[in-house]
């Protein structure tokens, strides 16, 4: 049996072996300070702009929306040569119209502690904190909404297995009950990278990472019987999330590795068709499209896909260019329809250096229709039909496991 002292001594030595040479290198601070200050000011400006927009009249907004939806993309000089991010940036509708149909609650799983929080969608106020098993690794938790506003599925990892649960929330959001789902735990060595409940609430889809990320699979579990159907592929990579388009079509975001990297993107699987080939369906959206990189995308029941996109910095970028955001696409053709939320470059940059300022919007959750999103960009918040409302409880650009 190794004593703590043995381990800490060797650990300290290992740390010094690894990091001491690096610690002696000089970090060039040139330009960092003004960049940091500009980024900070930009965030403040975005907040002020949001407040201004909120004061505009509905009539003016309606005109702007119409013009933007039908008008051409802005001049190329203002945009990098991406394809997805050239979709028109739409102006948000009035608040009342934007939030129509918004789920009453959303649930987040904190990755610092084993707890889920039920929050009020309008204010972000915590209604209930649900204690989860202390042994779970919070950062590996996954959550999905069943779509009725009250039922959620949870995937919780406690070494060495991932187990599945239902979280049933009271109508007022102030209490909840967690029960085990009729779904077998994942075997050791397999991890849930995303879950989704079918629109009728009868099936659970699970995106699975296997073999240390070398391979992946998608499982669909019948929650009535526990019967499981699995789709796999021999190609290296794994699915990073699943989403239902309807009771039959399942979307998953495939991240290929090695030679299969080119196959990355949003794929569609017909769960009623015979066969078990994971990549036997259609790729709706490649992960790299022109100068744009799709970080994550999912299907909605409205026939659209929602994608978090960043510009990959292959060409010069002017200050103010759209370099990232949340884009809505036609799920049939993969064609971008509109940019729901745009991130703008804080300063000009040459090829290869664009990553310095790209904030990388994260798509934390989408409701079934794709009309209401939880995103984490400059700030965490709701994106209701392109109208952003900041919500408390998560730091900017924090990847939150959330559902509504």
């Amino acid at each position: 049996m190794l004593a703590d002292h043995d381990i800490t001594e060797e650990l300290a030595a290992a740390f010094h072996d690894r990091a001491d040479p690096v610690a002696r290198t000089a970090v060039d601070p040139a330009g960092l300070f003004p960049r940091g200050v500009r980024a900070r000011r930009r965030q403040a400006a975005v907040r002020r702009a949001a407040a201004t927009v909120a004061g505009a009249t509905a009539a003016v907004l309606a005109v702007v929306v119409t013009a933007n939806l039908s008008g051409p993309a802005p001049a190329p000089a203002e945009r990098p040569p991406g394809l997805l991010l050239t979709a028109a940036v739409i102006s948000p509708p009035p608040a009342g119209a934007a939030v129509a149909g918004m789920p009453r609650h959303y649930v987040t799983v904190d990755h610092f502690r084993p707890a889920a929080e039920i929050r009020d969608s309008a204010t972000g106020k915590v209604l209930t904190v649900i204690a989860l098993p202390r042994r779970i690794d919070p950062k590996l938790s996954q959550i999905a909404a069943a779509g009725d506003g009250r039922t959620f599925a949870l995937a919780l990892f406690s070494f060495p297995r991932t187990r599945f649960y239902e979280l049933r929330v009271a109508g007022d959001g102030r209490s909840a009950r967690r029960t085990a789902l009729n779904a077998a735990p994942l075997p050791p060595g397999q991890y849930a990278d995303g879950i989704a409940v079918s629109p009728d609430g009868t099936r659970l889809a699970v995106a699975i990472q296997r073999d240390g990320g070398r391979h992946g699979a998608v499982e669909v579990v019948s929650l009535a019987t526990g019967a499981t159907r699995t789709w796999t592929t021999g190609r290296p990579g794994f699915p990073a999330g699943v989403s239902w388009a309807n009771g039959r079509r399942l979307g998953f975001f495939w991240g290929g590795t090695g030679s299969a990297h080119g196959g990355s993107g949003l794929w569609e699987l017909d769960t009623a068709a015979p066969g078990h080939g994971l990549l036997s369906g259609r790729r709706i959206l490649p992960a790299v499209t022109g100068g744009d990189t799709v970080q994550y995308a999912q299907l909605t029941t409205a026939g659209t896909a929602i994608a978090a996109v960043t510009y990959n910095g292959t060409a010069h970028v002017d200050r103010g260019a759209v370099v990232g955001g949340i884009v809505e696409l036609d799920a049939r053709t993969g064609r971008p329809l509109r940019t729901l939320l745009a991130e703008h470059a804080a300063y000009a940059a040459d090829p290869g250096h664009a990553g310095w300022y790209i904030g990388s919007c994260l798509l934390a959750a989408a409701d079934r229709t794709g009309g209401h999103l939880l995103v984490s960009c400059d700030r965490f918040g709701r994106l209701d039909r392109a109208r952003f409302t900041a919500l408390p409880g998560a730091a900017p650009q924090t990847a939150v496991a959330a559902a509504w």
């Binding site: 190794l2 610690a23 980024a39 950062k139 909840a176 967690r178 085990a180 990073a240 978090a308």
Partner: protein, 187 residues
């Protein structure tokens, strides 16, 4: 005033930048991610220099740990990150003689990569930066008790990994989950 702030910031980076990079390297596990983390942490610290300057070492490390945590969560949205080590590469003692086992340092570093970010940060702060429990708690914005429990759990998991037979998965450090049905009512 701004010029003085910038000069102070640059002086801090010149003094602590290398250590910060080393810290990030141990946290992230690879140089590329470490550089990214350091750049982002320094940019954010620069943007909030009025606050950060009071204790820039602690501030930048706090930001860096948070960024590293976010990267874990964001793995499904961004670059692929493997969640489990290759079984054949799992850490094992290269030679064993009871408690005096000679440990493979590379294997130990790989085992650290399997720890949660917070636990890894605690180990790096305590055993590479030689910070006390209280100093570590101040950097991470948690209590001394949390630092102790993180340290204890991290060492327990490392020991479990190192005590395990070669080629097998890391043994469980915790009992199985609670009974399958009706786990709790809240509210």
């Amino acid at each position: 005033m701004a010029g003085r702030d910038e000069a102070d910031f640059e002086a801090y980076v010149a003094t602590d930048g290398g250590r910060l990079l080393g810290f990030a390297l141990l946290l992230a596990g690879n140089y590329q991610d470490a550089e990214d983390l350091v750049q982002m942490a320094l940019l954010r610290s620069a943007g909030r220099w009025a606050t950060a300057r009071q204790n820039p070492q602690a501030y930048t490390r706090t930001v860096l740990v948070n960024l590293a945590r976010d990267r874990w969560r964001a793995r499904r949205h961004r670059q692929r990150e493997t969640l489990v080590a290759d079984a054949a590469r799992l850490p094992v003692a290269t030679a064993r003689d009871g408690a005096a086992a000679v440990l493979d340092r590379q294997a130990l570093l790989r085992a650290c990569r399997l720890l949660p970010t917070a636990q890894r940060a605690v180990l790096v702060l305590r055993f590479w930066e030689d910070r006390s429990i209280d100093e570590t708690a101040a950097v991470l914005g948690c209590s001394a008790g949390t630092v102790k429990s993180h340290t204890h759990r991290a060492l327990r998991r490392l020991r479990a990994a190192l005590d395990d037979a070669p080629g097998s998965a890391i043994p469980p450090s915790a009992p199985a989950l609670a009974p399958a049905r009706r786990i709790d009512d809240v509210g």
